[in-house]
């Protein structure tokens, strides 16, 4: 033990010396312009030629666009991890017995990893990718208000991911003494407090770091949107995506510190013999209250910006302005406030007082209104519009369609009597996957295609993009509709195996539906392979975009700031031959 500690100390010392030497080398590259609040005025394209090349650029950048790209790459990697985890789970579920994974522990580990990865390491970062890249462009700011804090917020995420996934890596290395956490993403006590496995501690630390990252980012966006707007942008013409990011950031600011505190309490319970969540102490229900007071706003943290993206992109291809711009803003703000008054609807079956339960039902039903208002706004925007079915538009329409099903299944769950029947069944799983995959991921795909020309200077392959959409949509419908039906049959969540009393439901029917869901999952997987291939291939070899208006937005008077910026980039690189290379775009972003 002492030898190990000594070796670690030496390694740490060597590492620190390495850091010092690297940093002093960096001093050569860095200009010492003190910039607080981004007032140094480096937003002009003339200054973009000074970035170091290669890996060093990506490790040291504080440019909001580079950080946006880093977030995007990071989120994609996390999406692949979470996606592969769920494919293994889906394969296991094709038969009632444990035939594939070898142990239920592996299934539980994959389940936990899938949930946490998709929500914290894919969902939040993919939104941050768009907001970092485009909010400053959309509001006419030079950069974020605090560019360095922006950098810190991103660089907290890779260690967070490594810690969250650490159990998988350490399992073979330690001979199974440290395993992947098997707590599920909600980490309910007493299960999470009593699993001796150190993988849980590492996961909690990783989550804590990702919470710090999200909070730093949120503060940055609030300050940026309030103080860095160009003089001609005010609250009446602020774009809808910035509004949703502003609301999201406010939610993060109130919700994530609470998650961080609750995680610290759980770590103390696990390692320092406190009793916050012990049965004879603060009670396991305390964890559920703390977790869901964070957890429900988290749902809206994840879904509001995608709604903003769709509200931004859908009008572009409908040839008309967003119907009821201010309806959408007020309903976004309303969702933001109401989301803090609904958390115990996740706990209807825990035996809390019926009066309190009724209150949460009331607010949960009320929150459906602002969400539904948006749906009608989107439909009204398309109504009689000149619709162009480009890949971004297809994803937006898919988003609206999926929201109708995902949203309405949620309204049913908000009603206590229905929830008590469907609680902890696949109906709930189906409901939130319609939202998370059918909305959040779809909006992200749509926005990636929409802004692909700006970010890469290239155009993606349209046929592949449309294939990606149709396969994704078909896969989503098959997989998650099957899950809703499984829920009606009473199939409980989070089980690797299933066995049914024929009086409840015939086992063969449940098995068939599981197989259908797995088939759908494979279709989704195939679609995402096309997506990744398309992005990489088009980034490397796609046709260079020469026009400043690749979507013909000027025709309908919808040409907007981010494309103005793009036009400036095109103009400034007209002189030097390689397009956009001055901004380091020629560099591969895989670091």
């Amino acid at each position: 033990m002492a030898g190990e500690q000594l070796a670690l100390t030496v390694l740490m010392g060597v590492f620190l010396v390495g850091v010092v030497s690297l940093v002093s080398r960096m001093e050569n590259l860095r200009a010492y312009a003190p910039l607080t609040s981004g007032d140094a005025g480096y937003g002009d394209s003339a200054a973009t030629g000074h970035k170091p090349s290669g890996l060093l650029r990506w490790l040291t950048t504080v440019d909001h666009k580079d950080i946006g790209i880093l977030y995007g790459v990071y989120a994609t990697v996390a999406f692949v991890w979470g996606g592969l985890a769920v494919m293994l789970m889906r394969v296991e579920l094709t038969t009632p017995a444990l035939d594939v994974l070898g142990s239920t522990g592996v299934y539980n580990g994959l389940l936990t990893s899938h949930g946490i990865t998709m929500l914290f390491l894919f969902g939040t970062p993919i939104i941050a990718a768009f907001s970092n890249y485009f909010i400053p462009l959309l509001i006419g700011a030079d950069d974020m208000a605090f560019p360095r804090i922006n950098g810190i917020a991103f660089w907290l995420l890779p260690p967070a991911a490594l810690l969250i996934w650490a159990g998988f890596f350490l399992d073979p290395l330690t001979g199974g003494t440290v395993e992947a956490a098997q707590t599920s993403w909600v980490m309910y006590a007493p299960l999470s407090a009593e699993q001796a496995n150190q993988g849980v501690d590492l996961m909690l630390l990783g989550l804590h770091l990702s919470g710090i990252s999200a909070t730093l980012g949120a503060i940055n966006f609030i300050v940026t949107i309030f103080t860095e707007r160009s003089p001609d942008v005010n609250w009446a013409n602020l774009d809808i995506f910035s509004w949703t990011i502003l609301t999201q950031s406010a939610l993060i600011l109130f919700a994530f510190p609470l998650l961080g505190s609750a995680i610290i309490m759980l770590l103390l319970d696990r390692n320092f013999q406190t009793a916050f969540f012990a049965v004879n102490g603060g009670s396991p229900i305390l964890w559920q209250h703390l977790f869901w007071f964070f957890g429900h706003p988290e749902v809206y943290i994840l879904v509001l910006p995608p709604m903003g993206l769709v509200s931004w992109i859908l009008p572009k291809f409908s040839g008309r302005k967003l119907f009821g711009y201010k309806f959408v803003i007020y309903s976004t703000l309303a969702i933001g406030v109401l989301s803090f008054g609904v958390w115990a609807h996740h706990m209807f079956s825990t035996g809390i007082d019926p009066r309190i339960r009724a209150s949460f039902m009331a607010v949960s039903l009320a929150i459906a209104i602002p969400s539904a208002v948006k749906t009608f706004n989107w439909i009204a925007t398309m109504w009689n519009g000149n619709i162009r079915l480009t890949a971004p538009m297809l994803f937006c329409i898919g988003f609206v369609a999926n929201f109708v099903i995902g949203g309405i299944t949620g309204v049913f769950l908000a009603a206590i009597p229905i929830d008590l029947v469907l609680h902890d069944t696949y109906y709930v799983v189906g409901h939130f996957h319609w939202i998370v995959m059918g909305m959040i991921a779809f909006a992200a795909f749509g926005a990636i295609y929409y802004w692909f020309p700006i970010v890469t200077g290239k155009m993606y392959q349209k046929r592949l993009a449309k294939m990606h959409f149709w396969l994704s949509e078909i896969g989503v419908v098959i997989t998650f509709f099957a899950m809703l039906l499984l829920g009606y049959l009473g199939m409980p969540r989070r089980y690797a195996t299933y066995e049914f009393n024929g009086l409840i439901a015939p086992l063969s029917q449940v098995t068939t539906l599981h197989q259908v869901a797995t088939l759908g999952a494979f279709i989704i997987l195939f679609a995402q392979i096309i997506w990744v291939f398309n992005l990489v291939q088009s980034y490397l070899e796609g046709p260079v975009v020469e026009t400043e208006d690749p979507w013909d937005l000027k025709e309908t008077g919808q040409y907007s700031r981010e494309f103005e910026w793009f036009a400036e980039q095109l103009d400034s690189t007209d002189d030097d031959a390689p397009a956009l290379a001055a901004d380091g775009r020629g560099e591969p972003s895989d670091d």
Partner: protein, 138 residues
């Protein structure tokens, strides 16, 4: 450092890169893991890296003229925090704290590792300020 500052000062206005954010994040992550998982080398190294990077980033962004005072302040904070952690187990009497040095109680050791990180950062601050003080004349 000061010489390079004047060299690159001419290209001022770029400012789009900084080596510190990566290390602030890394320092925090490593330090946190070290303290919670009771891996003392990681705890000390991570916290020192964190303190140094915070001092560096404050200087770079113009909130502090030179990093050393910020580093010293942070090191003081760590020493205090570490001692508080130790005191929770031993009480504030000097003799019990001294005897706790030989303790194998992990909470005490965690406290000492935080204190240790403070001491190392303090030494780094002293050394740094004295070295660059002489170097600055050139």
């Amino acid at each position: 450092m000061s010489q390079r500052e004047s060299e690159t000062g001419e290209t001022a206005g770029t400012g789009k890169l900084s080596s510190w954010p990566l290390f602030v994040a890394l320092g925090l992550a490593v330090g946190e893991v070290g303290v919670v998982m009771a891996v003392y080398p990681l705890a000390i190294g991570g916290l020192v890296l964190f303190a140094g990077s915070v001092a560096g980033i404050l200087t770079e962004s113009g909130y502090a003229e030179r990093p050393w005072r910020a580093l010293t302040a942070l090191s003081g904070l760590f020493v205090l925090l570490g001692l508080v952690v130790v005191w929770t187990q031993t009480g504030t009497e000097l003799s019990t704290v001294q005897s706790a040095l030989a303790s194998t109680d992990t909470v005490v050791l965690r406290g000492f590792s935080i204190t240790g990180a403070g001491v190392v950062s303090f030494a780094a601050g002293l050394a740094g300020s004295s070295i660059t003080e002489t170097g600055r004349a050139a």
